[in-house]
Amino acid sequence: MLVMVDPIETSVPSTLTESGGHVLVVDDDGQIRHLVAKFLRENGHRVTVARDGREMRQALADAPIDLIVLDVMLPGTNGFDLCRELRKTSTKPVIMLTARGSDTDRIVGLEIGADDYLAKPFNPRELLARVNAVLRRSRTAPEQGAGALGHFLYFEKWTLDIQRRELTNPEGVVVDLSTGEYDLLLSFLEAPQRVLTREQLLDAAKHRIATGFDRAIDVQVSRLRRKIDASEDGQAVIKTIRGTGYLFVPAVTRS
């Protein structure tokens, strides 16, 4: 919002992304702290930084924080322990920055209560998308917080595990989704039984892909349909609203 670099980079808050929040970035690398803070500020968020657990506690006491971006590898108390400690008193959303692979398994396996995770080296736009998504989720269920909200969304006996980023069909079979399909499905599940315009859907999804996202939203929708309509009997899960956009038909529950 502060700097106009080019049209794609400028994030216009849509009805889905809403306005920026106050993000606390905890990382021991000064440059990364600075760069992440700068990037998130440019995309409409207020940012406070902390280098370790002590500074993080201080920052949380000083200002109302909406979301914490927490690195795992920290001097002193590590990110896992900080997250667990935080969860005892608060449901504040947390996005963990992990080492790819091994730490990811730990987050998913240990139920440490993080809302999302991102492996380093991450794509800045991917981080922005995750920040926006988690903020959005925590706002739809205020006071409950995303962390306590659970990570499962259900529709027609299908399950979307937000933490694992994994879709399972009514038979319990894992149905693989591309990043674009996942984002699209998540957008639908967060606003079910509402007509979403192509622009809204595109806006929600476009942050995920750094370069080359030139596929029309229709292609993504048809790919998604091919996967989740496979076991449906005639009734379309995603309805095309002529001239406007799409409607996700089933009711969605979460736990």
Binding site: D6, Q31, I32, P124, G172, D176, G212
Partner: protein, 445 residues
């Protein structure tokens, strides 16, 4: 035959058999020689006594009766004749047994002179029966007593015993050797089995240090070696992982800084380079992590997974098609299988111009075939391409990057899920990758 003596048991049998048989034969032979000597000494004494008696008898008989009396004195192996001249010719076959005879005869009958005893064969030496000796003794009136006698041959029963006892001995040796060698080598065999049962990298499991001291020593030495090896591997792995890990912070910084450059051509190129770098680090790390894949085996829609990969590859500008059923469930590890097929499809696009992915459902397995139109792989390299960090030394690889882990990781992942990965050059050109994964056993979710 030689293979029989390849084992310790065989060698023990061979050595003991030779040694003990040799000893047995030598001792038997010396025993028999001594026995024969005894026997011939006793025979000689008896013969001397008899000859003395025959002579005394014939001396007192008038000459005209002597031949008749001589006949009556014959018996057993001895035939006696009387004649005015000597019949024996000195020397000849059969005489060597009686070399001590003249001396003993003279001891008994002192009047016998040097020429009065002739020991020899009957008639000429050549055609004489070797078992018949003829002894001529001169009487005081210059007539002769001719005693023909059969030499005693060694008892034929003796050679039977010889063979039997040797055979029995040999049998005993074989049985004992089998038992002893079996007992001695059992700890070694047990150790070999224990070593075979060890899994590489499983340093917690040691082979049991039991058995005789030599085997115990070997086991201890082996366990020490195993500890050293696993420590070495661990250190290497940790060092490599640390390097890859430490690259992440600068890589993250570069990615963040790229945001400031906007969407210039340079920024896009740098982003692409970064992507490649990241893929290489990921591949190395996931290879090094190897076995410790904590992912759970779950039912997976393989068709949806391949659909995602094919769509992604198409979005990246690749020429990739997919055909087959809309859904096909297998049991496996989602992330590692996805990585495996991503590698295979990427390879096909990179090296083989275009990729055609076909899914087929067989009763027991899902068969996924990835055909490309590339140059294929030389027949002698079809196996080596699966080895880590091996890349084909052909020009087509130079601009394609990668570290040579794609196929290694793919094969490991597919085999971990009970599958099989085969490469084949198609006759019409291009490479064919054939993956078989076991179908779900009907129990779903």
């Amino acid at each position: 035959m030689m293979r029989m003596f390849d084992t310790l048991v065989g060698r023990t049998i061979l050595v003991s058999l030779i040694a003990i048989s040799l000893m047995h034969i030598v001792s038997l032979w010396s025993y028999e020689a001594a026995l024969r000597h005894e026997l011939s000494a006793a025979d000689e004494t008896r013969l001397v006594e008899r000859l003395v008696l025959i002579r005394q008898g014939l001396v007192i008989v008038p000459p005209e009766k002597r031949d008749e009396v001589a006949h009556r004195l014959s018996g057993g192996p001895i035939k006696v004749h009387w004649s005015p001249t000597e019949k024996a010719v000195a020397g000849g076959a059969g005489t060597e047994l009686w070399t001590g005879l003249p001396r003993r005869l003279r001891e008994q009958i002192p009047e016998l002179g040097a020429g009065d005893i002739i020991i020899g064969g009957e008639g000429s030496q050549q055609d004489g029966d070797p078992h018949v000796a003829l002894i001529s003794l001169r009487l005081p009136d210059a007539t002769w007593i001719n005693v023909s006698l059969f030499a005693y041959a060694g008892s034929p029963a003796g050679s039977h015993g010889y063979l039997l006892s040797t055979t029995l001995m040999a049998l005993g040796v074989v049985v004992l050797s089998v038992v002893i060698a079996g007992w001695l080598t059992r700890p070694i065999r047990k150790m070999a089995n224990a070593v075979r049962a060890l899994k590489p990298g499983d340093d917690a499991v040691k082979i049991p240090e039991g058995g005789p001291r030599e085997v115990r020593d070997l086991a201890v030495a082996f366990n020490e070696m195993q500890t050293r090896i696993s420590r070495l591997i661990e250190e290497r792995t940790r060092a490599l992982a640390a390097v890859s890990h430490d690259l992440r912070t600068p890589l993250t910084r570069v990615k963040l800084r790229l945001e400031d450059l906007g969407h210039t051509e340079t920024a896009t190129a740098i982003a692409a380079d970064l992507g490649e770098l990241e893929l290489m680090i990921d591949a190395t790390l996931s290879y090094l992590r190897g076995e410790e894949n904590a992912e759970a085996v779950r039912p997976i829609d393989l068709a949806a997974l391949l659909r995602t990969l094919v769509d992604d590859a198409t979005d990246m500008g690749g020429d990739v098609t997919l055909s087959g059923p809309r859904a096909l469930v297998v049991h496996g590890r989602h992330i590692s299988l996805k990585r495996a097929f991503a590698n295979l499809i990427q390879n096909a696009v990179k090296y083989g111009v275009r990729a055609r992915v076909t899914i087929a459902s067989e009763p027991a397995s899902a068969v996924i075939r990835i055909d490309d139109d590339g140059p294929g792989i030389p027949a002698d390299k079809l196996e080596t391409v699966f080895e880590p960090f091996v890349r084909l030394e052909t020009s087509r690889n130079r601009e394609t990057g990668g570290v040579g882990l794609g196929l290694t990781i793919a094969k490991a992942a597919i085999m971990a899920d009970g599958g099989q990965l085969d490469l084949a050059n198609r006759p019409e050109g291009g490479l064919s990758v054939i993956v078989r994964l076991p179908r779900s056993s009907g129990t779903v979710g």
